[in-house]
């Protein structure tokens, strides 16, 4: 028994000879909200599908709630709520029938919470799933996932297709779940402001590797973007390790460095720059820097 609700060890996945995930390692402790980010096709959904036992891994080990993903029993699955990308609900069913099916198959069902969500989202029970808009499907999927009071909530791009109001409602709901003690959330999204708002820990996937795995605050501390102006032409090599990006324009150099520390600052000062100013970075800026094609990927953990 360990405190981690999600364990991913040396996960490797190949699709038709193409390596999508190359030795991914991360853990999500109980009560943590983990934001998994990456560009399209980076492998976020693949990780979630492997975690849920829907997709077999090529190599490595993944566990949910102390159980290997390949051996998740119905009892364990009953403690996990999941909102899948694309909201793959049974399209030919009416909403009412799907709700009844999910309710009958679930180990526990919170009628009060579910009815509240159905009222909030104003979902029609007599319409077929295929006739619902993408946003309505997302809302239904989320309501079904929340109705079981999950210990672990896995959200794969849950706000995709939602309008601004529905997105805000969703985030408030997610925060409500978080506030219930001990709940853990794995949250993948392209909307970085959403992730920034609720995630405690961030993982960023790039080129099949997890290049970032650390708390959000620490990430903002560790990645620095500096505008350095030199008296003469900037040096060809700053002798700094873990440079994510470097651009030179005249006497000005803009450099993004990972794992910033005093030692790196001291090295920089030896070049006696005329000025050195820090450019504030949002999560989106950090994400763009980290996912930029880089011959030597830098890991921030």
């Amino acid at each position: 028994m360990n405190d981690n609700v999600i364990n991913v060890e040396n996960l490797v996945k190949y699709f038709d000879g193409r390596c999508v995930l190359d030795g991914i390692n991360f853990n999500v402790p109980q009560g943590c909200i983990y934001g998994l980010l990456g560009r399209n096709g980076a492998g976020k959904t693949t990780i979630i599908r492997i975690l849920l036992g829907i997709e077999p891994a090529t190599r490595g080990r993944t566990c949910l709630l102390d159980t290997e993903s390949t051996n998740l029993s119905p009892g364990i699955r009953g403690r996990i709520g999941c909102v899948a990308e694309g909201h793959n609900l049974i399209q030919s069913y009416k909403v009412g029938r799907l709700i009844k099916l999910c309710k009958n198959l679930s180990l526990q069902w919170n009628d009060e919470s579910f009815d509240h969500l159905m009222e909030t989202f104003r979902l029609p029970k007599d319409r077929k799933i295929k006739d619902l808009s993408m946003g309505m499907r997302a809302q239904l999927n989320l309501s079904l996932a929340m109705a079981i009071d999950p210990e672990l909530l896995i959200l794969d791009d849950p706000t995709l297709g939602l309008d601004t109001v529905a997105r805000r409602q969703f985030l408030e709901l997610a925060i409500e779940v978080i506030q219930k003690q001990g709940r853990t959330i794995l949250f993948c999204s392209h909307i970085l402001s959403d992730v920034e708002r609720i995630a405690e820990r961030i993982g960023i996937l790039a080129a099949g590797k997890l290049v970032v795995d650390c708390p959000l605050e620490q990430l903002k501390e560790r990645v620095r973007k500096l505008r350095i102006i030199f008296g003469e032409a900037p040096p060809a090599n700053l002798y700094l390790t873990e440079i994510i990006n470097q651009q030179i324009q005249g006497r000005e150099m803009t450099v993004t460095v990972a794992n910033w520390n005093r030692q790196k600052q001291a090295i920089l000062e030896t070049f006696k720059p005329s000025s050195c100013t820090e450019i504030p970075m949002s999560l989106e800026d950090i994400f763009i820097e980290c996912t930029r094609p880089n011959p030597q990927p830098v890991e921030i953990a």
Binding site: R49, L52, G53, I54, E55, P56, L72, S73, P74, G75, R77, G78, I80, C82, A84, N88, L89, I90, Q91, S92, L101, C102, N104, L105, S106, L107
Partner: protein, 208 residues
């Protein structure tokens, strides 16, 4: 488990209705032959054989439809996000198939026993013959259904149909060649076991 079986039956109700209609036709033919045609077995075979072939194709089609629809619409991917295992999904599907076959076999066996009671002398060999015929009929239906399950788990719409049709015809002709004896039973049982193992292995190991 019951919920999953109910779901499968409701989703495939058209096959149950089709099976019930064809069984009714088969029963009408059997009773008519028994009463009006002086038990002319040539006429009986000529009338009932096409119905039996359609039934077998129907069972194969049901298996193909269950698996193909699942793969295309990602139904199992959705269900496994609920407290349901892949084993349970497949088992519910197989139980549904068995129920569909019994929809045909049970009414027909009852009718045949009644007719045998009326027209056939009470000799033990006849009752054992009826049992053999229905055991083989059940196994044949189940073999066709399992074949459908095995070939239906594919992303291609075209692949399962010709292969499944050819094998269904081969299986049905097996009875014409081998009769209703233990040899036919043995071959069908082996075929069913092989199909089920392969289906289970494919369904458990591939992505949903």
């Amino acid at each position: 488990m019951l919920t999953l079986i109910k779901r499968e039956i409701r989703d495939n109700i058209v096959y149950f209705l089709g099976a019930a209609i064809l069984t009714a036709i088969l029963i009408v033919i059997t009773v008519s032959v028994a009463y009006n045609m002086g038990r002319d077995y040539g006429v009986y075979a000529g009338l009932s054989l096409p119905v039996i072939v359609i039934l077998m194709i129907g069972f194969s089609g049901m298996g193909v439809s269950q698996m193909y629809t699942d793969k295309a619409r990602k139904i199992s991917a959705f269900l496994t996000a609920l407290p349901v295992s892949r084993n349970q999904i497949l088992l519910a599907r197989i139980v549904t198939g068995i129920l569909a076959i019994l929809t045909v076999v049970l009414p027909f066996i009852i009718t045949s026993m009644a007719l045998a009671y009326l027209f056939v002398p009470p000799i033990p060999i006849f009752s054992s013959m009826i049992f053999d015929i229905f055991a083989v009929a059940f196994l044949l239906g189940f073999a066709c259904y399992c074949l459908g399950l095995m070939t239906g788990w594919t992303a291609s719409k075209i692949t399962p149909i010709p292969g499944c049709l050819v094998l269904t015809f081969i299986l049905t002709s097996l009875i014409i060649v081998k009769g209703f004896g233990s040899c036919a039973k043995g071959i069908l049982t082996l075929f069913i076991v092989a199909c089920l193992i392969r289906t289970w292995q494919k369904f458990m190991s591939t992505s949903l």
